[in-house]
């Protein structure tokens, strides 16, 4: 319920901001002709239905108001629900998100739904590999640092995790490209562009983007794991296990680990929405045409319906991960029971 309300409010905010008059003017000029005069822009916006009341148009986009209709400069009927291959009188009256129609992208000149799903698939691969690299490394660093608090290993690993949280993607990406991929200086191990990874993913073209993204998120998870591990290691039952005569390794692996991993799990889940900014940066930097790249294109060109769909996707991701972290917490921690 709260989720739906949040999603509604957020999409309406995006809708309002993209439909401010100067934004529409800019869009009209990029779509038709940059040297249009003001009356021409006004006429164009009128003809394509952009000047009607905001709430009515938001309702149409949602699918709770009938789609608008009009005629273009040649007198041909046009409208939100009309398509080339269907005659105007057979077209459905409602066609919004609720009917599964996400609208038309003015940048890519095609329906939004397929664009978003295709780009999301590409980003999914990136996220998958980032998670595969990031989560085990971060947990390992955190557990190693937290099992003997204050040791030199702890100091070194903590320093490393602080350093990674201070290195945003655009910094580490730039450093990695100059060190590992620059054609003038440095090692030429990897490729600086992940463009070819969209069809054919190889270690050479995909390692840098994955590394760049994994590094920034890693430090935070590692620090959380360390804190929770250090806390668990001071607990009574760990001392009991030691006193029973168990070795250090069995104590850590069998007794401490499970309890120490409850907090990091929540943190990892909540990391997903945070990764979105990273996705946008990394995809623009490495020219990988996924969801983040699409978002940048849409925002640059004020592509209203594409932007709205992008915000739906990100809001759903945020809310789902919140839900998943709550549910996962209950499973991992037997002391919490759903009432």
């Amino acid at each position: 319920m709260v989720m739906a309300l949040t999603a509604l409010c957020l999409t309406f905010a995006v809708f309002l901001l993209t439909n401010l008059h100067p934004n529409l003017e800019k869009m009209a000029k990029t779509l038709v002709n940059t040297r249009m005069t003001d009356p021409e822009v006004g006429a164009w916006l009128d003809r394509y239905g952009y000047t009607r009341p905001m709430l009515e148009r938001y309702g149409e986009w949602l699918g709770i108001m009938p789609g608008w209709t009009g005629t273009d400069s040649n007198g041909k009927p046009i409208g939100r629900c009309l398509k080339e291959d269907i005659s105007p009188d057979q077209a459905p009256r409602f066609c919004g998100v609720l009917q599964g129609n996400f609208g038309y992208s003015t940048v890519f000149h095609s329906a939004v739904g397929p664009i978003v799903s295709k780009r999301l698939g590409l980003t999914g691969w990136l996220m998958l590999w980032v998670m595969v690299v990031m989560v085990p490394t971060a947990l390992l660093i955190g557990v190693l640092a937290g099992m003997r608090e204050g040791s030199w290993l702890d100091r070194a690993l903590s320093m490393f995790s602080i350093a990674t949280t201070a290195t945003p993607e655009y910094v580490s990406g730039v450093v990695f490209i100059s060190v590992f991929a620059s054609s003038s200086v440095g090692l030429q191990w990897f490729k600086a562009s992940a463009g070819s990874a969209m069809d054919d993913m190889t270690f050479e073209n995909f390692a840098l983007p994955v590394m760049t993204m994994a590094l920034y998120g890693m430090g935070y998870i590692a620090r959380m794991t360390r804190a929770s591990m250090a806390e668990v290691m001071t607990a009574q039952y760990i001392r009991t296990a030691h006193l029973k005569g168990l070795g250090f390794l069995p104590v850590v692996v069998r007794h401490a680990l499970r309890n120490a991993l409850i907090t990091p799990f929540t943190v990892i889940m909540l990391q997903f929405p945070w990764l979105l900014t990273g996705v946008v940066i990394v995809e623009s930097l490495f020219n990988y045409k996924g969801f983040g790249w699409t978002l940048v294109r849409a925002a640059d060109n004020n592509d209203i319906e594409l932007l709205l769909s992008c915000s739906i996707v990100s809001v759903v991701v945020v809310l789902l991960t919140q839900l998943a972290s709550d549910i996962g917490y209950v499973y991992l921690n037997p002391r919490v029971r759903v009432t």
């Binding site: 100067p22 945003p168 925002a299 932007l307 809001v315």
Partner: protein, 381 residues
Amino acid sequence: MSAGQIAVQVLLQFVPVWIGLAVVFALSIAFKGRLGLYGRLMDSPIGKIGLGFVLFWLFTAVFADLIITTSPLDQISAMKNTLPGTLVPGTADQYYLLGGDNLARDVFSRMVMGSRTVLSIAPAATLFAYMAGCTLGLPAGYFGGRFDTVLSFIANLVLAFPVILLFYLLVTPEIQETGLPVVAAAVLFLFPIVFLAILIWSRFNTQPAKMCLYLALTLVLGFWAYSGLAFNADPLGLFSMDPNLLNIFVSVVFVNSPAVFRIVRGLTIDIRTRDYIAAAQTRGENPWYVMLWEILPNARGPLIVDFCLRIGYTTILLGTLGFFGLGVSPESPDWGMTINEGRKLLSIYPHPALPPALALMSLVLGLNLLADGLREQSLKD
């Protein structure tokens, strides 16, 4: 110049900074017993390293005019994309220490000047976010009820918004045309004035003479700065803000304040149940006095740590903005913008993008280490 010579020359250029650092550290260590939490920072190696990094960039920003070798905007066409340590043609001893960028400007001087932009926006924006977050978070946590529910919903709404999308929507020339940033600034910049006014009123309302004096002072100064910063209508012309800068500043404050709100609210709910709060309530203190003079000072530990971390986060945000070309102005030497310009030719000429990238990283690293040191020391209480 060889690599060694470049390094020596760069270090020499920073001489004012080294002197400043030496003075500050000598004084802090000498008087550490009397400096409270700051003095105890001198006992923690991590805190000292962090403070060192932060002060380094602070002094760099202050002495930037003495450090730079050429103007950050000068374009000498022969120096386009030149390698580090190239002599400027027609001069005897003027070098581009870290090379030239794609528009033939000096990378070193731009990096040094960039510290000014970053260090003038990030801490100020964080401070404003704190004022707004405290003014709303304290009553929300203290009174609870419908006020809390509504504000928490709005805060969660803003936090659920992907930051990058929000910036793309808010920081554009088109938005400036609509006047939205000015309206937002008018609201957000009011919070510090309200905060300070309530702070003074709740403390001195038993001493009307003092209260009137302090209140008048705050309100006059506050509204003077307010008229200049938000509306660019300062009668004396002392306070003003470029519309582009205002737009960025307001967006950064807007993104940060809900997070501060949540932290302050959480701390308030926790501290509200303590005995000394009950004592203050029994004495019949005004609720605002309890919030601002009992709860807030006792929440300072986590807030100071978060403040340091948040300045770092804001620096990263500003860099992100610059990286997407939404920065202060295309000419400005701010780090994010410079990285963005440098990345286009990154695989051929990496040298223009690396210095600002490393500068940004070291500043944020310093702030994070400082926060860590402060946390460690404040836990010892």
